[in-house]
Amino acid sequence: MARETVFNGLMILVLAAIPAAALLFEEPFYLTLATRLAILALAAVGLNVALGLGGLVSFGHAAFFGIGGYVAGILAVHAFNMEPLLPGLPGTKSMPVIWVVSMLLAALIALPMGAISLRTSGVYFIMITLAFAQMIYYFAISWPAYGGEDGLSFYVRNGFPGVNTLQPLPFLLVCYGLLAAALLFFWRLQHSPFGAALQAARQNDVRLAAVGIRPFKIRLTAFALSAAITGVAGALFADLNRFVSPSMLSWHLSGELIVLIILGGVGRLFGPVAGATVYVFLEYGLGGITERWQFFLGLILLGVVLFARGGIIGLFAGRPRHG
């Protein structure tokens, strides 16, 4: 068995161990921690489609995370106040509906954004995706209808049929379920003809074009898929906090998502999960020891970039056979 597979099995065990530990030691806070971990990992799995498979370094994925969050928040507030969103279109408190809407909306916005951004490459791509995200960020800050700078609170978490999402454990399991679905999707995608074309576009787009496949279309599709997954994660994140604010759209979050992927291992199936696990534990662990945890987090990240190329999975399983 490949060492990466062993590592992935270990990651699954770690994810399962957290809620078990929470119940054993009666520390409900661990459940929140695990939920945060799962949601960040889910968002990063989304980014990993564009960044890991397609080599598209998007510095604007916070846009999709925030869009998902605002979809959840706005629909929930309208349902709570019994105000229709548009005449004849009510809000909703049903998670599956919210998920579908946030995926569609994120993908719909990713299409024009990607179509323009993909005209550029390299640093210009990084910067133009950042610019688009900043547009949406400033729009959310200065648009007063849904809270503007103060954000939008909703008091009751949205519901999933047959699950009491108000309890931390069932909500965590819902998040785990979506994360597992996203990982399965990523794995299928990676090994599909489409995934092969996408990875070929990253490695050598001239050759891909020479065999008759337009890299642009492949990349744009990947960008939209990637946005949709990150959008769902945003909807869950809003549900976790029962609050959405423009900070979900900030460039810091885009940076953090990139950090999660590099920390775990770029383009690896479980890279985002490993990255999110380490990140959340560092945040929690260092935060418990020192108020200055960000200083040490910075040092650790710096150490990973300089000395552990290939991220945590790279350390454990070696370099991928074909990059």
């Binding site: 005209r119 640093v123 210009y124 688009f132 200055r292 910075g298 300089l306």
Partner: protein, 307 residues
């Protein structure tokens, strides 16, 4: 629409633009010569502002503070270059983004450690206090005009440095062909450190100059950093001329847009709706501008020579 108000906003836009130029010129130089994306450039801006505020508070002189900001930011830049940045030149942009993102965390938290979370205040030097009367009898602060003047001087100085001096020749050669200039016996590592420190000093100077207008606090560099990136992307990464043009464009468009958009909208919709929609659109304006420019000219307005 009063002309004095528009004139005042235009001058504000120019002042903002020249401040952005101080940031963007260093950023674009570092990218052009070393091919490095430096997210930590905003941290150097912050270091400059803090150095200036601390020295000005200790000695009572803004001018000593300004010298300290240049020296402090240049020293911080050189140190970071030697310890960290030097290892990143051969890496892809992804690693550079992550490493310099980590540097932001270290700088921000380190500064908070040293100076606490409360903002510091920096007074405008008495020499540049007071206001000048603009045509139309509107007063305008001399200090802001001085920033415009300082920006012009730096632009001129950079032009002379790059086009007329031996160091500038080496910088241009480094941009054109790294291996060749190393093969000709130029110490490329020292050259890189000098360029990085120069960019850092300019960022520090911008921080000190703006510190007297706003408060000096942790995190002050980040909004400016993003704008500086917008500037160099609009101008064409690696081009100082592009950085100057892009900075003035962004400065003027952003400042006048905030004034003119709500006014323009109020002729179509109610004043209160125009004010809020106008403000929302105005804050997005430069990003729309950037997206438009990149959609039409994917390598910016003044694409630097191949490489």
């Amino acid at each position: 629409m009063q002309i004095p108000l528009l004139l005042e906003q235009l001058l504000n836009g120019l002042q903002f633009g020249f401040m952005l130029f101080l940031m963007a010129s260093g950023l674009t130089l570092i990218f052009g010569v070393m091919g490095l994306i430096n997210l930590a450039h905003g941290s150097l801006y912050m270091v400059g502002a803090f150095a200036c505020a601390a020295v000005a508070a200790a000695t009572g002189s803004f001018w000593l503070g300004l010298v300290a900001s240049l020296a402090g930011a240049a020293a911080a830049g050189a140190l970071v270059e030697v310890l960290v940045i030097r290892r990143l030149y051969g890496r892809d942009h992804l690693d550079q983004v992550l490493a310099t993102f980590a540097l932001i965390l270290i700088f921000s938290e380190g500064t908070r450690w040293l100076f606490g979370s409360f903002p510091l205040y920096l007074d405008i030097p008495p020499l540049l206090g007071g206001a000048l009367t603009l045509p139309g009898s509107a007063p305008y602060p001399i200090y802001r005009l001085a920033i415009i003047g300082a920006g012009l001087l730096v632009a001129l100085g950079l032009y002379l440095l790059i086009s007329r001096t031996r160091l500038g020749m080496r910088i241009r050669a480094g941009e054109a062909d790294r291996e060749m200039i190393a093969a000709l016996g130029i110490d490329i590592r020292t050259l890189y450190t000098i360029v990085f420190a120069l960019g850092a000093a300019l960022a520090g100077m911008a921080g000190a100059l703006v510190g007297a207008l706003q408060s000096v606090q942790v995190g002050m560099g980040e909004p400016v950093l993003i704008l500086a990136f917008v500037v160099i992307v609009i101008g064409g990464i690696g081009s100082i001329r592009g950085a100057l043009f892009g900075a003035l464009l962004v400065g003027v468009v952003d400042t006048t847009g905030r004034l003119l958009l709500p006014l323009a909208l109020s002729s179509f919709i109610s004043p209160s709706a125009a004010a809020s929609t106008g403000a929302a659109l105005a804050s997005m304006l430069i990003y729309v501008l950037m997206a438009l420019i990149l959609a039409l000219r994917p390598r910016g307005l003044f694409p630097a020579a191949a490489g």
